[in-house]
Amino acid sequence: MAKIKFKLNDKFVELDTDPNRRLLDVLRDDFNLTGPKEGCGEGECGACAVLMDQKIINSCCTPLANVIDKEIITIEGFSKTKKFEVIKDAYAKTGGVQCGFCTPGMIIATESLLNKNPHPTDFEIKIGLSGNLCRCTGYNLIIEAVKEAAKAGDGLW
């Protein structure tokens, strides 16, 4: 057991818990943040994606120990931002959401990509989303959504 402090969705949090736990379990069980989901549990699907210091990570293969003093933003926290509104509208407009299970991870991946590269090419979008699987296989529409978000949100990132 250890005292673990980090910033979660704009609030400083402190836990007395086992640092070996997966960030995913802590988010879902201790904070009731169920946006990040366990898909594959081995870093292949991106359903558990969250932002750590503004960059996408898989919370299923991140030990809590590696989160100390970092800033974590889940889809719940991100959904309160203007950037989220732009990305959400872009996904809605292009039809980039089907069953929705992959969507929180896709949106986190979109934000992480646009943060680093506000005007990505098609290839860069594919690389940016490459760790996220959509079992409905609506990839083309998701890629369109990212392009639409980059256009509509020009200047935001």
């Binding site: 250890a2 086992d18 640092p19 070996n20 736990r21 997966r22 379990d25 069980d29 366990e38 549990g41 081995e42 870093g43 292949e44 991106g46 994606a49 750590m52 960059k55 996408i56 990570i57 898989n58 299923c60 293969c61 991140t62 030990p63 120990a65 590696n66 100390i68 003093d69 991946a109 992480s112 990509l113 594919k126 690389i127 940016g128 490459s130 760790g131 996220n132």
Partner: protein
């Protein structure tokens, strides 16, 4: 429940290594998966665990005249973004995993994991990479090829830590890494290949060939490479069947869930052929 050690700096980390028997975790992207149990249950580590990812001393990258030095806890993404990391390494990293994994995974972790399919290893063997290894009383430097002894077998003492990956600065006419996998990202290689060469006055002055996932660790044969030095490109292209016959006995892949030995062998030889045929 196993103990988790969270050292504040490298000195404390080396002290813990000296006193305790621990498993070292950097990014955790291999360790958490290899030891995972059911959802919500604690990870099934058999040993106490030492976390090194918060150690700033291990997060730098710098160079001198001859080498680039990469800290053991620097993420793959940071290496890719660096101006001084070797181009071949950056191109290799782009084929490893996904952005999410690359933001936390490390080069030293890929080395410590010592999987026959470790992608960075192929390019690192090709470039004669070395490691700096530290314990509380000692710092040593070892070639990567001498550090990895087999499938997940490394020569790291229980009190030691990989602190740096050291890569010579090299000039190649052309160098590339090629990965064969089922998916562009997040795929563990069926096999992989790296080739590089340098040429002067139409004669080969340096040529390097490495294969991944076709033997217990990376295959690279310096004696065979030496036999190619001094030849012209035309001469090498003319002896392509001989060259593949040299490498044939070294390529001894296995059947597993990702591929089979027949496919792996044939594709490995084809990648060698392609490399030689495209020398210019």
């Amino acid at each position: 429940m196993v103990e988790a050690y969270l050292p504040k700096d490298l000195d404390e980390c080396l002290k813990i290594l000296n006193e305790k028997k621990v498993k070292i975790i950097a990014g955790g992207t291999d360790m958490l998966i290899q030891n995972r149990s059911h959802t919500g249950m604690s990870i099934g580590y058999r040993n106490d665990v030492l976390y090194i990812n918060n150690l700033n001393e291990l997060k730098n990258i710098y160079e001198d005249d001859a080498f680039v030095y990469i800290g053991a806890a620097l993420s793959l993404e940071k290496i890719m973004e660096s101006d001084i990391a070797p181009k071949l390494l950056k191109e290799t990293i782009l084929e490893m995993a996904s952005p999410a994994i690359r933001h936390t995974a490390t080069l030293a972790g890929n080395i410590g994991n010592a999987s026959p399919a470790g992608d960075s290893l192929v390019s690192l063997y090709l470039m004669d990479a070395e490691l700096e290894i530290r314990s509380i009383n000692n710092t040593r430097r070892v070639f990567l090829k001498d550090f990895i002894k087999g499938v997940r077998k490394i020569t790291l003492e229980s009190d030691e830590l990989i602190t740096k990956v050291i890569i010579p600065k090299l000039m190649f006419e052309k160098a590339y890494f090629k990965k064969v996998g089922p998916r562009l990202s997040d795929a563990i290689s069926k096999l992989s290949f790296a080739g590089a060469y340098q040429i002067y006055n139409n004669k080969i002055t340096d040529i390097r060939i490495a294969f991944g996932a076709v033997n217990v660790t990376v295959v690279r044969d310096r004696l065979l490479e030496k036999k190619m030095i001094g030849k012209t490109i035309e001469e090498l292209k003319g002896m392509i069947d001989l060259l593949t016959s040299w490498y044939d006995p070294l390529i001894v892949p296995i059947d597993d869930q990702r591929s089979n030995k027949v496919y792996r062998k044939e594709v490995a030889i084809n990648l060698l052929r392609e490399f030689i045929e495209n020398l210019i």
